[in-house]
């Protein structure tokens, strides 16, 4: 019980840290003076003290939407696979529930973008709808393929099974599912080949365009939601595809889990430095590759059993 709640609290606390870790890693690799690792927390407290101004065209949706963006993601946090052995609570949710909750959060984010009636918001929302519609089939296919290997439809139970019995005989399909899920991780979090989280350039914005009009507490909530989303995807990736180190005692297991999260963040940051952003109309190609790999993972598992 204590470990369960402690893990959720720790994950929430390190969520801004992971994103600022990626940012300072990128700055370090580009020979700039890296930003502080605490920058995420500083931004949060700064935004909490700022005055909140709402556009006069905006309806009441702008007032509700930030909370509705954050809350489905917080619900998912409680259903994430356990990070310690013999966990207090192993959730029952499957791929559809998790994708559905993420889609709910994305839906309110898109409404928020449309609500302020600025040209940027609508553009960002339409792009986000386009990307998330392509992400969902691949996500469901990938998680189902992994569940098939683990022998359980529930994501959390699948992760526990994988850590107890690593699918040595299915390494090939496991690898394909891992590649596919990593592309989805980049796509859903708006990292560089899909969307650049740092620019405010008209041609490249997706996520930033939707939240251009909000300030203060609401912006703080949306940014927290973005970092929580990254933590959710990273910890799903870690517990499904790198399922090691659960058998140690509780503090060590949690420490190993956090190290693995930082390793994922390191890989993401490293890729971002070495890649250019894709043109928007090339994005379906990349997500198509993700779908190909997810499908390939399923058929390799079924036909070859490898």
């Amino acid at each position: 019980m204590i470990a369960y709640i402690f893990t959720i609290v720790v994950l929430l606390l390190i969520a801004p840290l992971l994103l600022s870790f990626i940012k300072s890693l990128k700055m370090f690799l580009l020979f700039k003076r890296p930003a502080s690792l605490l920058q995420g927390y500083r931004n949060f407290s700064k935004l909490m003290h700022k005055e909140t101004i709402i556009s006069k065209e905006a309806s009441s949706i702008t007032r509700y939407a930030p909370f509705l963006v954050l809350s489905p993601l917080l619900v998912i946090m409680f259903f994430l696979p356990p990070v310690v052995h013999g966990a207090f609570y192993v959730s029952f949710v499957d791929a559809f529930t998790i994708t559905g909750l993420i889609a709910l959060s994305t839906f309110f984010l898109m409404l928020l973008g449309l609500d302020s009636a600025s040209a940027f918001g609508g553009m960002g929302s339409s792009r986000e709808a386009f990307i998330s519609a392509l992400v969902e089939p691949a996500m469901v296919l990938t998680v189902f393929s992994v569940s098939m290997m683990a022998g359980d439809l529930g994501v959390a139970q699948a992760a526990v099974n994988l850590s107890e019995h690593f699918p040595k005989e299915h390494m090939a399909s496991f690898l394909f599912a891992g590649i596919s899920f990593f592309i989805l991780l980049l796509a859903e979090n708006g990292r560089i080949p899909i969307d650049n989280p740092e620019t405010h350039l008209e041609l490249t914005m997706v996520h930033e365009a939707m939240i251009l009009d909000i300030t203060g507490v609401y912006l703080a909530i949306i940014e927290t939601a973005a970092s929580v989303k990254f933590v959710i995807f990273a910890s799903l990736f870690v517990s499904l595809f790198i399922p090691f180190g659960l058998q140690f005692s509780v503090p060590i297991a949690i420490a190993i889990f956090i190290v693995k999260l930082f390793a994922v963040a390191f890989v993401v940051g490293f890729l971002e430095v070495n890649m250019a952003k894709l043109r928007l109309f090339k994005v379906p190609n990349l997500l198509g590759i993700a779908i190909v790999f997810a499908f390939l993972s399923l058929i390799t598992f079924y036909v070859l059993g490898a």
């Binding site: 390494m171 198509g288 779908i291 190909v292 499908f295």
Partner: protein
């Protein structure tokens, strides 16, 4: 377990090569493909304790993963090739085509694998990568990616050789390598011609 992992990497790098639109990136994926092939030969060679296969693995890594991509890159720089290679098959068609080829070849190889004992997956993977590299040859108009497709066909036949037969005679494999080097020389002549024509067109 590790063999399965590298077979997966082999197929994954070939699929990624099909979707690539840049020449140097394609060479990089080909090099990666050959590297996994060499590591596979080494692993299987150590498993069945076959000295000849270990030597072939090392030669594969040196020639196919390092030398051939390097020479192709320097040739294409020398003759000023077009580095943007757009496939004739559009990506959203390829997204449907590649899984179709994979399913087809996986089922196609089942009668073959029923006759064999052990390592049946590898035969299926190598036949499907043969078809995928045929597609890589088909979908490009330029010479350079076509050559990469040819070399990938060679790679997948090599994979078939090392996994299905527990090691071909060393002489045959070395002969194949010399064939490949001859092919590269012929390709050099082809490049010369295309580079000359490209200069004339420009």
């Amino acid at each position: 377990m590790m063999v399965d992992f590298f077979i997966g990497l082999f197929l994954a790098s070939l699929i990624t090569a099909i979707f690539t639109t840049r020449l140097f990136r394609l060479l990089l994926w080909y090099s990666f493909n050959s590297l996994t092939l060499g590591i596979l030969a080494l692993l299987i060679g150590f498993k069945i304790d076959d000295g000849a296969m270990i030597i072939t693995g090392i030669v594969t890594i040196i020639i196919k993963a390092v030398a051939i991509p390097y020479f192709l890159k320097s040739f294409s720089q020398k003759f000023h090739f077009v580095r943007q290679i757009t496939p004739n098959v559009q990506t959203h068609h390829a997204i449907m085509l590649v899984p179709a080829i994979l399913v087809f070849t996986f089922y196609l190889s089942q009668p073959v694998t029923n006759m064999m004992s052990g390592n049946t997956n590898y035969v299926a993977v190598s036949i499907s990568s043969l078809f995928l590299s045929l597609m890589l040859m088909m979908e490009h108009k330029n010479v350079a990616p076509k050559i990469i497709g040819f070399l990938s066909i060679e790679n997948s036949l090599f994979l078939l050789g090392i996994t299905a037969t527990n090691g071909m005679p060393m002489l045959v494999e070395l002969g194949i390598f010399f064939d490949l080097l001859m092919a590269i020389i012929v390709i050099n002549l082809l490049f010369h011609r295309e580079g000359f024509q490209g200069a004339k067109d420009a």
